[in-house]
Amino acid sequence: MTFTPQSSAQAHPLTHSNDTVIQVRDLHKRYKDIVAVDGVSFEVQRGEIFGMLGPNGAGKTTTVEILEGLRDLDSGEAYIVGIDVTKNPTRVKGMIGVQLQQNAFFDNLNLKETIELFATLYGSDMPAEEALEKVDLAERAKSQYKHLSGGQKQRLSIAVALVNNPVAMFLDEPTTGLDPQARRRMWDLIDNLRTDGMAIMLTTHYMEEAELLCDRIAIIDHGQIVALDTPQNLIDQLKTRGAEAVRKDGALTLEDVFIDLTGRSLVE
C-alpha cells in the first residue's frame, strides 16, 4: 500500500453536484445551556474525503451523530443522497458506514462472528472474509475482539462499517489513541477507501491527518465553521494575510491556519 492522497484528490474533482452524498444546511443543536452546533452547512461529494477539524467540544461529533441518525437536530436540514435523516433515520442508517468515536464490539465474539452478526443487522450478505480482507485482518478471523490491539480494533470497525457497501462513511477520530505506526496504517486504509467511490467524512484534531487525507477541510470552533476549503487553499489564504509560522523552518501548516482563525492552538 502506498500513500498518495494528493493524486486521488485530483481524480475526484468537486464540481459534480449531482454526486452530492452528504448535505447539511444550517444545522443547530443545543444541550440544555450549551450550544453544540450553531449553524453548520456543508456538502460532501462521492469519492471525496471531507475533514472536520476542531478541538474537543467544538461540535464535530454532534454534527456527525446527527448525520448518523443517532441524535435529533433542533433546526436545519441533513440529507444523505437526498434522504432526510431526521425523517428516515433507519433507512439512512442502513445506507451509511459508521465508526463511532468510542467504538466497541462484543468482547467474546471473534472477528468473523462480529462481521457476520453486523452483516445480518444490515441485511447484507457480504462474506466475513471479504470484509476482513479489505482491512488486512483476514488472518485474525478467529481471534476474539478483546484480544485485538487498538489499531486492529479500529480496522475491524472499518470492516464492519463496510459490510453494507455504504454510500457514505463516517469516521469519528479514527486514529485517536493509536501509536504512530498504527496511525499511518490507518491513513493508508482510509485513503484506499476513496477508490470505492463513497463520500467519507472524517473528524480529527490531528493537523497532519487532516492535511494528508482530506480533499477539503472544515475548521469548526464553538459549533461554527470558521473556514472551509482544500488544505492548500487554507494555507495559501493564510500566506496572503501574512501570518507567521509556528514551525521553525517557516513553512505554514494547518496548525497556523487554525491558530490564525481561532486565536488558539489545537490541544491534543
Partner: protein, 372 residues
C-alpha cells in the same frame, strides 16, 4: 427473524465463553444448596406434633396442657391449630408436620389400657423419637401429679404409645430450601446477568454501535431476553438435578410432566427479573451504581420471600408485605410443584401474581432503556 436469531446465537456463544459467568450461575447455588441442606434449620424447632384429643376428660386436658406449655414454660411440642385427625394426617404425609398423636376416648380411665397412636413421617424418625421420649415423661408426670391418680392404680401400661409410620411426601428443610434456591437463582441470574451485561455493553459503546445499525431496540432486547430465558431453563434443570443427586430431594414425586410444566414458570419468573434488570440498567449510569441498585432490589427478597426462612417464622406484619413480592410468588409455586408434585395450573394465584409483576417490570424496562 434472522436478526433475532443472529442475536440469540451470538449471545449464547458469548455466555458459554464467559467462564466466570458460567461458574457463578451454577456453582454458587449448588454450594448454597449443599450448605443449607447440612444446616437443617428445621431441627432446631420443637417437634411439630398435631394433637387429636378424643377423650376430652380431666386427664387428657392435663396432658395437652402439659405438652403445649399450658402450665408455664416453653411448649414441648409445636402444635398446629387443627384438631381434625384426617387433615392433620394428610399434613404429616405432605411433610408439613412431624407427627399426629391421637388420644383415645378411654384415656385416663382405669378400666383398660389406653393406646396413644402416633402417626409419623417415616423420614423424620429422629424428631419422632424425641417426641416419643417427651410424651413418655409427660404421661408419667400427668398421671402422678396432675391427674392425681393414686399410686396403687398407676401401672406401667396405663397408657401405651404405638407408633405408626407413614411415607411422607414432604422433604423437610432440604425439600423446602432446594426449590427456594432454584427460584432465587432464577432471580439472581436473570437480574444480575442482564444488569451487568447491559451496563458493560453501554459503557463500552457497543450499544451505541448497535443503535447506529438499522435495527430497532426490540430486536436487541427480545434477543437478550430470549437468550436469558433459554439459559434460565438450562440452569434450573441443572440445579434441580443437583437437588436430586446431591441434596437427595425427590423432585415432583410421581409427576413427570413437572419437567415440562416448570418451563412456563421459569419463563414467567425470568421475564419479571430480566425486565427488572433492564429497568435497573437503564436507570443506573455506571456499574458502580448498578450493583447497589440491583442489591437493594434483590436482598430483601432473598430473605423475605421464603427462600431460606419459612414465612411461618417471620412476623405477620412482615409476611403481609412479603407475600406480594415476585420472588415469593415464584418460590411458592416452585416449591408446591417440586415438593408435592402439584400441577402448574393449581398455582393460579402465584402465576397471576407473577404475570402482574411481569407486566409492570416490562413496562418499566421499555421506559428506562437507553442506548448510551
Amino acid at each position: 427473524m434472522r436478526i433475532y436469531q443472529a442475536f440469540i446465537i451470538a449471545e449464547l456463544k458469548m455466555f458459554f465463553r464467559d467462564r466466570a459467568a458460567l461458574f457463578w450461575t451454577l456453582a454458587f447455588p449448588t454450594v448454597m444448596m449443599v450448605v443449607f441442606g447440612l444446616f437443617n434449620f428445621g431441627s432446631f424447632e420443637p417437634p411439630e406434633v398435631g394433637i387429636v384429643d378424643k377423650a376430652k376428660n380431666e386427664a387428657s386436658t392435663s396432658l395437652v396442657s402439659a405438652l403445649t406449655g399450658g402450665y408455664g414454660g416453653e411448649p414441648l411440642f409445636n402444635v398446629p391449630d387443627s384438631e381434625d385427625e384426617q387433615s392433620l394426617k394428610s399434613e404429616v404425609e405432605d411433610g408439613e408436620i412431624t407427627a399426629v398423636m391421637v388420644i383415645p376416648e378411654n384415656f385416663g380411665q382405669s378400666s383398660a389400657t389406653s393406646v396413644i397412636d402416633i402417626t409419623y413421617d417415616g423420614r423424620k424418625a429422629q424428631e419422632t423419637e424425641i417426641a416419643r421420649t417427651i410424651l413418655t415423661q409427660v404421661l408419667d408426670a400427668v398421671f402422678k401429679d396432675v391427674a392425681q391418680v393414686p399410686a396403687e392404680y398407676r401401672v406401667e401400661n396405663w397408657a401405651e404409645i404405638s407408633l405408626t409410620e407413614v411415607a411422607g411426601r414432604g422433604q423437610g428443610y432440604t425439600g423446602f430450601v432446594v426449590p427456594g434456591i432454584v427460584s432465587l437463582s432464577i432471580m439472581q441470574s436473570a437480574l444480575f446477568g442482564v444488569v451487568f451485561t447491559l451496563v458493560r455493553l453501554r459503557n463500552q459503546g457497543v450499544l451505541k454501535r448497535l443503535h447506529a445499525t438499522p435495527i430497532s431496540p426490540k430486536h436487541f432486547l427480545a434477543g437478550t431476553l430470549f437468550t436469558r430465558l433459554l439459559l434460565l431453563i438450562m440452569q434450573t434443570y441443572v440445579l434441580l438435578m443437583v437437588g436430586i443427586f446431591v441434596s437427595g430431594v425427590d423432585v415432583s414425586p410421581g409427576y413427570a410432566m413437572f419437567w415440562l410444566e416448570v418451563i412456563p414458570l421459569i419463563i414467567l419468573g425470568g421475564v419479571v427479573f430480566a425486565s427488572l434488570g433492564l429497568a435497573i440498567s437503564g436507570i443506573a449510569k455506571t456499574e458502580n451504581t448498578a450493583a447497589p441498585l440491583a442489591n437493594i432490589v434483590t436482598l430483601p427478597m432473598m430473605f423475605l420471600s421464603g427462600v431460606f426462612i419459612p414465612h411461618s417464622v417471620i412476623p405477620d406484619w412482615v409476611v403481609a408485605f412479603a407475600k406480594w413480592l415476585p420472588l415469593t410468588f415464584l418460590a411458592d409455586a416452585m416449591r408446591e410443584m417440586v415438593n408435592s408434585g402439584e400441577t402448574l395450573l393449581i398455582q393460579g394465584a402465584s402465576i397471576l401474581g407473577l404475570a402482574v409483576w411481569a407486566a409492570i417490570c416490562f413496562a418499566l424496562a421499555v421506559k428506562a432503556f437507553r442506548w448510551e
